[in-house]
Symmetry: C2
Subunit: 108 residues, 2 copies
């Protein structure tokens, strides 16, 4: 029996922290749902990941920054990007007015 999930399902009142939920785990990759609500990376913090990440913004709005690039990137619904492993990046800003929902595929 196949059952249907909903990525935009009720997320609850307010998010003190970013919500990260694994949707699918398979050999070599995993799919995650990430929900932010005004969250950003701590000052001077950079993600430096062991795996590649393909990520698409599905709802809301965010600004990403890459250490090796001078300009920030504004992400709106439908925008996707591949972040190579160890490509240092941070989330500068997510919309405080609504939830920002990402779908991320982490792979080796």
């Amino acid at each position: 029996m196949s059952s249907v999930g909903n990525l935009f399902a009720d997320i609850g009142e307010s998010l003190r922290n970013e919500l990260v939920e694994t949707i699918l785990q398979a050999p070599g990759f995993r799919i995650e749902k990430i929900v932010s609500h005004g969250h950003s990376s701590p000052e001077d913090f950079w993600y430096d990941q062991e795996e590649h990440e393909w990520v698409i913004l599905l709802k809301g709005r965010a600004v990403l920054r890459f250490e090796d690039q001078s300009e920030s990137m504004t992400m709106t619904p439908g925008n996707y990007i591949t972040i190579a492993k160890h490509q240092r990046h941070r989330v500068e800003w997510t919309d405080p007015e609504e939830e920002t929902i990402w779908l991320a595929v982490h792979y080796t």
Copy 2:
């Protein structure tokens, strides 16, 4: 240099056929964008795939049917489902009024 794509980017006037675009190909899986516009599977046709598929509907509306289930499934934005390899299924209907956009992850 990372560059940003847009899954909801301009698709063009009318689609005679379903549009299938590979967004990412990696060992063990690939990510596809599929755009339907009123398309459905031919009568009596069943998909019978060699790979598992995780698929999410991001825009539009569709009805899926599985051979091993009596009821059809209506998919609306955010709905996702995992289709095991060789689980025979078909697309009964997609919305003729707007594009239906899917993101599919095929994996072994």
